[in-house]
Amino acid sequence: MSCSRRDFLKESVGAAFVSSLPLSAFVVLTTEEAIAAVAESTVRWGYLVDTTKCTGCGMCVKACKNENEIPYDAPVTRTWVERYVVTKDGQTHVDSPNGGRDGFTSGNIREEEIDPDTIDKAFFVPKLCNQCENPACVQVCPVGATYQTEDGVVLVDRDWCIGCGYCIMACPYGVRFFHPDHKVADKCNFCYHRITKGMMPACVESCAFGARRLANLRDPDDPVTRIIKTERVAVLKDEYGTKPHVFYLGLDNNVR
């Protein structure tokens, strides 16, 4: 068989092109695999914050930082507690010194003294990642380094993240930050290493007042799920369409 140099080159380029196509594009699933691929997970994690129970002790923030190896004195945190003080003149004073890591032991807000007699209401609001159904942070990731697991938690792949910061800008809740040590995006993941072992997240475990609770929303017998389903709960920034899965009891209109 004769083969000219031209034909040889032509064919080898063609062969290289065809062989570089990913094989997975042609995989045909068996029936079992197809069913497994579309079957819903039996777990969908959610979270309930009862703002009426939070005393602002900040133990959750401390526990979170220790548990998840977030540098203790760096101005970043996966969860934080905000204090709202509404005074009789209609003003709302908000602060979260060190994210509430050391609790709230002084009545001063941003070095401003507030006379207790002028206060209409005061409350604490813990915040964390909402593990959205439609996470804006995942949509914008250019490299596929952040994703939603089958049980609804959004994770960050530290080996894959290039640290571009798009997700930090995209999150409407401001829960993402740049990890000072790993140089990648970081965020609350409901303590994924704990909840997958049947433990509670560190913040839930450390809360003495039951203000923070974890729920499996696919389990109708879960007591926390029942509260979320039967009581009047609210979510943060509903208007963004992200479908957050952290639910709040007693959420005030001043909370943004």
């Binding site: 380029v13 290289a16 092109f17 570089s20 196509l21 990913p22 997975s24 691929a37 009426t52 129970k53 005393t55 602002g56 002790c57 900040g58 133990m59 401390k62 526990a63 220790n66 548990e67 003080v85 050391d102 609790g103 709230f104 032991t105 002084s106 009545g107 207790p116 206060i119 209409d120 209401k121 005061a122 409350f123 604490f124 439609n134 996470p135 949509q139 596929g144 380094a145 994703y147 939603q148 697991t149 994770l155 792949d157 530290r158 080996d159 894959w160 993941n189 994924y192 290493h193 704990r194 997958t196 072992k197 433990m199 560190a202 475990e205 450390s206 003495a208 007042f209 039951g210 203000a211």
Partner: protein, 157 residues
């Protein structure tokens, strides 16, 4: 078509082929769409396992009770029973295997997290807790020198 017009085309195809070949080598096998949605489920499957293997530090009160029965007994009948051990004693980690003694936080600031009087109205959860005004009550003394933290109704030993 003339040959000199076709040549750059082969070069371009070659470059694309090279990039695809490099991608084949560099991208891990488990990287792809794992789930229903390309938008949210395009990732490296092995990362889930990596996160699951992240070390646990807070072991929970039940683990502490396995050895520290005495303190647990006092603690469990006190108003402080809702406060878990590791909040004050620090995360257990691999204690007692790696760390023999846990650093105990006895600071006044620790107690003030809950027991500082901020003068907030009754609708605040905080107002139900016994509280002191920091600058009026035994300034700068450690609370635990008078109050037993395991059962605050008792005097410290």
């Amino acid at each position: 078509m003339k040959r000199h017009v076709l040549h750059p085309l082969w070069v371009a195809i070659g470059v694309v082929g090279l990039i695809l070949f490099a991608r084949l080598l560099l991208v891990p096998d488990d990287f792809g769409v794992h789930g229903e949605s390309f938008t949210y489920s395009y990732y490296r499957l092995g990362n889930i396992e990596e996160w699951k293997n992240f070390p646990v530090k807070y072991q929970g009160t039940d683990t502490c009770l396995e050895c520290h029965e005495d303190n647990a007994k006092t603690h469990r009948r006190s108003p402080h029973k809702r406060v878990q051990c590791e909040n004050c004693h620090g995360p257990a980690g691999n204690h007692p295997d790696d760390v023999e003694y846990l650093p105990l936080n006895k600071e006044r600031a620790m107690c003030l997290r809950c027991h500082a009087d901020l003068g907030y109205p009754e609708s605040t959860a905080r107002s139900y807790l016994p509280a002191i005004v920091d600058r009026h009550h035994k300034r700068r003394r450690e609370c635990v020198s008078c109050h037993d933290p395991h059962d605050p109704r008792e005097d410290a030993e």
